[in-house]
Symmetry: C2
Subunit: 333 residues, 2 copies
């Protein structure tokens, strides 16, 4: 049985950068037990004044694009530049069995063994909404522990990209140069979220194809309206093998960061992310109460069958279910 | 004071195709009064067996693209082909003041005066979620009244496109040929939703530019993965002035429809739309209860200020608000 620390112990450990306590604190926020949730919520509140000082970078791309090797070489470059790096993953377990990068520690050996890096695999067995919320809390804990760059990785084929986009400052899309179908497999809408596109594995025979692909990505991006911050997403090439382009990727992010700070967009974006986070929490908690009600679960299954068959109007059923839920709620204590 | 009909009167009137009663029935589903909502829900249930037989087409495009003239010429072509046509609009009032097409009846004169067409402007003064839900119900009422093509129009710059995509069989995007920036002004993600793109106003001096723009749209679409139904969105040109391309637009939709029927995608898509509709209703009704609670409204405003300032964790506040809500709910009768 895991021993739970006290609020004061968690706080002290996290703020002093104790990696063991940080790990335990993240386990706490990932817990589904109500008593843990209450403590986790207090802990996040306690460390809040020490958060917000990192650069938050989302990294996405389909399996096979080389996210693990990129994070390894990109991360080592950051460490050499004196940064303290945390790497988190957002993805429900169901999508993590085809070569989970962060679960597969051996592929990030040098990062994992560095005291200035903190690597945290994706929590297993959770639904997406929960994992995304918990990743945001884990990110705050890492910030409070003094990590100044946080990479948040997602596989780019699920529904977690929007969630990650909603918690980072910069969203990087890794792609490969292919035969005109560069974006095959990338989920709809992902390209439009990207602040930067990195054509990865640009080495050896791939190098010239990668250079050529730049213009096709650029012209595709040109079809999208510019983002609210006035930033035009850049397209770069890089190889984690030769290390070419790794520095340039960081320079792009720093340029974005500097522009966002000057224009006030960075703070503005974070305020709006926090407000969204409040809304998401409200909806998640409301949904948990509703969908967690055993009687609702039973009725909802029946209702879905009736709706699928087209027998009963979803409107009628929704009104009945909500009525039932609040009658039940009123009968509790 | 509007007289409310009985359930039986509404049902009989709608099923017999009485346009006056149909209008009144749509007014009923648009009503915010709880007693109307209950009756509306019963009416939708009663007419449900007579729904589902129309072809549902969403039409979107930025203001100025000529949606009203397109709907007029496209609609008249359909009427000449013996179809019965209903035209509905989904857009919150706030976005309807810059040249609302359907509000501006004079621009759809010939359609409006035809007995086989039914034109219904967007309900005013509502929030998006509500309008979208009510438009879906209005669509069912129109089907029950015997209209076999339903056009649902949205302005393409708001948040209503996803809602419309979720209630139609075919989603048509109207665009203009421009100087390489064809999609300027189109909201992110809209192009990826389209089953067909129509480059409008392809007449006179615009004609050659429109033809040229076909290939740039096609190559942009090529960057997106194919839709679940295996359909590759088509790109056509049309002029509502010369009527060139209007028939071809209909042929494209008929081809899509025939393919979707054969493959089973049409029914599959409608089942999944109904299930989503149930979820949406549940979330709307839950949200109405929560956000409609006066004490929650007061506290939420305070909470938002605290969150914007970064003083309190959204997690803590969300837990407090939800706790407060259910304590209040339990105290009601």
């Amino acid at each position: 049985m895991r021993r739970r620390l006290t609020l004061a112990e968690y706080k002290k450990g996290v703020l002093s950068g104790d990696r063991v306590v940080l790990s335990q604190a993240i386990t706490l926020v990932e817990s589904k037990l109500e008593e843990d949730a209450e403590l986790a919520s207090q802990l996040v509140q306690e460390i809040l004044p020490s958060t917000g000082n990192s650069l938050r970078v989302g990294i996405t791309g389909v399996p096979g694009v080389g996210k693990s090797t990129f994070i390894e070489s990109f991360g080592n470059m950051l460490l050499e530049n004196g940064k303290k790096l945390a790497v988190l993953a957002v993805d429900p377990s169901s999508q993590r069995n085809k070569g989970s990068i962060l679960g597969d520690k051996t592929r990030m050996e040098t990062l994992a063994s560095n005291k200035k890096a903190f690597i945290r695999p994706s929590p297993a067995g959770n639904t997406l909404g929960g994992v995304a919320a918990k990743t945001r809390e884990a990110m705050l804990l890492c910030e409070a522990a003094g990590f100044d760059v946080i990479l948040i990785e997602t596989v780019g084929v699920g529904q977690s990209e929007t969630a990650v986009k909603g918690m980072v400052d910069f969203f990087l899309l890794l792609v490969l140069a292919g035969a005109g179908d560069e974006l095959q497999g990338i989920k709809k809408g992902i390209m439009e979220m990207a602040d930067g596109i990195l054509i990865h594995k640009a080495d050896g025979e791939n190098k010239s194809a990668a250079k050529k692909a730049i213009s096709s990505y650029k012209s595709a991006l040109h079809l999208f309206p510019p983002a609210a911050n006035g930033w035009y997403p850049q397209v770069l090439t890089a190889s984690s093998y030769t290390k070419e382009g790794i520095d340039e990727a960081w320079e792009m992010i720093m340029k974005f960061e500097s522009q966002a700070k000057t224009s006030g967009y960075k703070e503005e974006n974070r305020v709006s992310q926090r407000l969204n986070w409040l809304e998401e929490n409200l909806q998640t908690l409301l949904g948990n109460r509703f969908y967690g009600d055993p009687e609702i679960q039973k009725q909802l299954d029946k209702s879905k069958e009736q709706v699928a068959k087209g027998e009963v109007s979803p409107l009628v059923l929704a009104r009945e279910l909500i009525g039932l839920f609040f009658r039940n709620a009123n009968q509790l204590k």
